[in-house]
């Protein structure tokens, strides 16, 4: 396809926001049928660039050429007319409407006619995207919802399809299906701009990758000729830390255990927990895999003590029952935890870093003096976190929300780890975190397991869980499977369990031996 003329060309695109240059002289060309990866850490300028292409934002300077001719002005409508479709990371669907109604809402009125139903069925068959136009959105899985967005684009017959982090919510099997569809589209000459930070996927799927860092294009490569590591290094501009697993001494008796815990979800549309049993040993990392919304939030609340158990004996640390204790008392017993949401849960966005250091560390780090906050000590503690965990910030007197996701996550991890927890429970530890910080965080989790702590990692990221865990359980609809030693299972097995398919027989995962 090298001889084909590019369908989209970006020439010297610049876009600045107050205080930052989001895109600096970016050049990019995409050819028909090409699956083109746009790769970069958070804040590298990928989203801005895509928004400029789709006309959501305007560039300050630079030219956009479509099929060789320059476009003076671009809005989402013009983009759609030209044949640019976009699937956003966050879906814009109405739960209480059917698939057909949702699609009708997002396309030009001329297409939303009586043939729409048939159109949907035709397209979904043609591209392997099974979708029933009569179903209501709230009854669909996340993968199916994404199909609606994809079909909505395809119905408008796009020449270029932009996909923003499409696999972050999918199971491995759903990812495979999506990739098949994308390859089929590519074979028919549709160009695809694929934004992701999952390197293995890019290697599997994409023909070309453009790598961005700090608003500039720093490299291009053929992903199939690269390794995830080499691409990560291009992305970050530095060498990546390689996490390494040490042999650890694992305690005989479980140190942190949950026994037959049932819990009714307090949130609307929450998931009830059924018969949860966890036995985690010292020096062990237990991974809990699962698709979002299968009870992870509830599990996290029950483990952290933000919601207490119905009986004190259901949760215990070192044979001491803590089921009725709240988070503060559980911290006294050596529990540390890092919630999924950094801003607003793990840290107070508008508060300064030293105040956020005080937030969970005030007891164990003795940051109080007669009921008053000891500002000097709190600052020192925050400074220690910053220097020990490589947090990039001018000082500790900035608000938490001024830090990038990765830096704030390192700060939160540092705050918990420096308190030397005996049990550390983390939820989506590297969600939305740049590759460098993610590697750093994973390594620090391994380090504290080396020191003999229990680590429980609840995550959707299977690559991550397989990298760091010793054992993996799967949570699906509020039920937890028996943990299996990571060497004895495969990503495919776990993927099946995540989607609720239980292989027959007693031995669920161990058959791979």
């Amino acid at each position: 396809m090298a001889d084909k003329k590019p369908i989209l060309e970006l020439l010297e695109i610049c876009k600045g926001y107050p205080g930052v240059i989001a895109n600096n002289r970016v050049n990019l060309e995409i050819k028909p049928g090409q699956i083109h990866a746009l790769l970069g850490e958070n804040g590298a300028g990928k989203s801005t660039l895509v928004k400029i292409i789709y006309g959501v934002q305007r560039c300050d300077t630079g030219k956009i050429k479509w099929k060789g001719s320059e476009i003076s002005q671009i809005t989402p409508q013009i983009a759609r007319k030209l044949g640019i479709g976009m699937v956003f990371q966050h879906f814009s669907l109405f739960d209480a409407m059917t698939v057909e109604e949702n699609i009708a809402l997002g396309i030009p009125a001329t297409l939303a006619n009586e043939n729409l139903k048939q159109n949907i069925i035709d397209i979904s068959e043609k591209y392997g995207l099974p979708l029933d136009p009569y179903r209501y959105v709230h009854t669909l899985s996340v993968g199916e919802r994404q199909r609606i967005e994809v079909v909505r684009c395809l119905i408008q017959n796009p020449k270029l399809l932009i996909m923003d982090e499409p696999t972050s919510v999918l199971t491995p099997q759903e990812v495979d299906k999506l990739f098949k569809t994308l390859r089929r589209l590519s074979a028919q000459g549709v160009a695809i701009l694929y934004i992701s930070h999952k390197l293995q996927e890019i290697i599997d799927l994409c023909h070309v990758a453009t790598i961005m860092r700090a608003g500039e294009v720093v490299d291009t490569c053929i992903p199939s000729e690269e390794s995830p590591r080499s691409m990560a290094e291009m992305m970050m501009g530095t060498n990546l830390i390689v996490t390494k697993k040490n042999e650890r001494l694992v305690s005989e008796k479980p140190y942190f255990s949950v026994i037959n815990l049932n819990h009714q979800a307090t949130m609307e549309h929450g998931t009830d927990l059924k018969n949860i049993t966890i036995k985690a040993h010292k020096g062990e990392i237990l991974g809990i895999a699962g698709i979002a919304g299968n009870g992870q939030i509830e599990l996290m609340e029950v483990l952290s003590g933000e919601i207490t158990a119905s009986d004190d004996s259901l949760v215990s640390i070192d044979q001491v029952s803590v089921g009725n204790l709240g988070p503060r008392k559980r911290r006294e017993k050596g529990l540390g935890f890092v919630p999924e949401e950094r801003l607003g849960h793990g840290a107070v966005p508008e508060m300064l870093l030293w105040e956020n250091a005080f937030l969970s560390g005030y007891q164990s780090m003795k940051l109080m003096l007669n009921g008053f906050m000891n500002v000097t000590k709190s600052r020192e503690y925050a400074e220690k976190i910053i220097s020990r965990f490589n947090v990039k910030t001018p000082n500790v007197n900035v608000t938490a929300n001024s830090l990038s996701g990765g830096n704030l996550q390192k700060f939160i991890f540092g705050r918990e780890i420096l308190q030397d927890p005996k049990v550390l429970i983390v939820f989506q530890p590297t969600w939305g975190v740049d590759a460098g910080s993610a590697a750093y965080i994973r390594q620090s989790l391994m380090d504290i397991a080396d020191r003999g702590a229990v680590v429980v990692v609840i995550s959707q990221d299977l690559e991550e869980l397989f990298e760091i865990s010793d054992k993996i359980s799967v949570i699906c609809e509020g039920e937890l499977t028996k943990p299996e030693i990571v060497e004895n299972i495969t990503v495919e097995n776990v993927g099946l369990l995540m989607s609720g398919i239980k292989p027959s027989g007693n031995d669920i995962l161990g058959t791979q031996l």
């Binding site: 926001y17 205080g19 789709y54 809005t75 409508q77 849960h345 793990g346 107070v348 508060m351 009921g371």
Partner: protein, 359 residues
């Protein structure tokens, strides 16, 4: 037209917005005055300068500001925790009845302990009244906006009952007023030939104490965390119920204190109308002062000035008393408006784009 979130909220603008609100109130006020056929410059001078052009005037200003500042400081604790106690008027009334009641009980006393006793009773009275919505919220999850507001009317009716019945002055020719408090039950005057009383000093002490409590004490920290990020408050293991109790009791206590100070200071007895709505006006004071004790002090003084100015305008310019309310309302309106504009910018969208917005 729609409002679009600004990326970075400027810290400086957050503090400038009350100043801007004051300026806008002045300008709009001048406009209104000129419609009323009054020379606007003259009116502004009558309203805002004349009342404080003498020592006596400044003293009056402080007398008026005392209850406003005290209540607003208390409310700041509630509002910072996202607890909407709007029943400070009722808490003030019950505080006045509790403190004043003690003064009436010992109407013959000359003990030096009477005054401190009355102040403590006032605080306790306000706390009890604020404790009711706190209890209901914790126990039954009731909405504190409704309960605290309704309790205000109950408090006013209790006042009315007492003053028309059991607490009526036996030598008062059947007027609905209590006895005068004894000398020992009156707050001492601190500036001769004015009405400036010890309550102002108490207020000035409360300001830094509240500031330290809010900024550097664990209680203040918990209140701020709960208001800004309730999930983070759970994460830290702070007890939400305790925070509700504490913030209600602090604000009720200060409102009750303000009530007792009013009856034992400028009034000297219990009368049917103890407060011209200080408890409600203090809500504006608290927000105008950015829920910060020092801010409350400044905005309390400003709001007191609108009361004095309103009185003066009635006398000098023959304007109706409603002018005071108009000014206070405008101040709140402009403050809210400029707060919105600090955080959002207005985007005007053409008709065409309106139909299909992708994001």
């Amino acid at each position: 037209m729609r409002l679009e979130l600004r990326g970075q909220v400027s810290e400086r603008m957050v503090y400038c917005s009350p100043v801007f609100a004051v300026i806008m109130t002045f300008l709009t006020g001048m406009l209104i005055f000129s419609f009323l056929g009054v020379n606007p410059t003259q009116a502004i001078i009558t309203f805002f300068v004349e009342p404080v052009s003498s020592i006596d005037g400044v003293a009056e200003l402080c007398v008026k500001a005392t209850p406003l500042v005290l209540i607003a400081i208390g409310l700041s604790f509630c509002f910072r925790a996202n607890i909407w106690n709007i029943g400070a008027e009722g808490q003030l009334t019950i505080g006045a009845l509790a403190g004043g009641g003690l003064g009436l009980l010992f109407f013959n006393s000359s003990s030096q302990f009477l005054m401190p006793g009355m102040l403590i009773f006032g605080i306790l009275g306000g706390m009890v009244w604020a404790g009711i919505p706190a209890f209901l919220k914790i126990k039954f999850g009731t909405n504190e906006i409704l309960t605290s507001l309704m309790l205000t009317y109950i408090a006013l009716l209790i006042l009315s009952y007492l003053i028309h019945g059991p607490w009526k002055d036996p030598e008062g020719q059947n007027f609905p007023e209590s006895r005068l408090f004894p000398e020992a039950g009156l707050l001492p005057i601190i500036l001769d030939e004015t009405r400036l009383h010890l309550g102002w000093i108490i207020t000035l002490i409360c300001v830094p104490v509240a500031w330290i409590l809010m900024t550097y004490h664990l209680i203040g920290f918990q209140i701020r965390v709960m208001g800004m990020a309730p999930m983070a408050s759970n994460f830290a293991g702070f007890r939400g119920k305790n925070i509700i109790w504490i913030s209600f009791l602090i604000s009720g206590g200060l409102a009750g204190l303000a009530g007792t100070i009013e009856v034992s200071g400028p009034i000297g007895q219990i009368i049917p109308v103890i407060s011209p709505g200080y408890g409600f006006t203090a809500i504006i004071v608290a927000f105008l002062g950015r829920l910060h004790p020092i801010g409350c002090l400044l905005s309390g003084l400003l709001m007191a000035l609108t009361y004095l100015g309103g009185d003066n305008a009635q006398i000098e310019l023959n304007l109706p008393n409603a002018v005071t309310g108009v000014f206070q309302g405008m101040l709140l309106f402009f403050l809210l408006a400029s707060d919105v504009l600090v955080r959002y910018r207005i985007q005007i969208i053409g008709y065409k784009n309106k139909h299909r917005n992708v994001e």
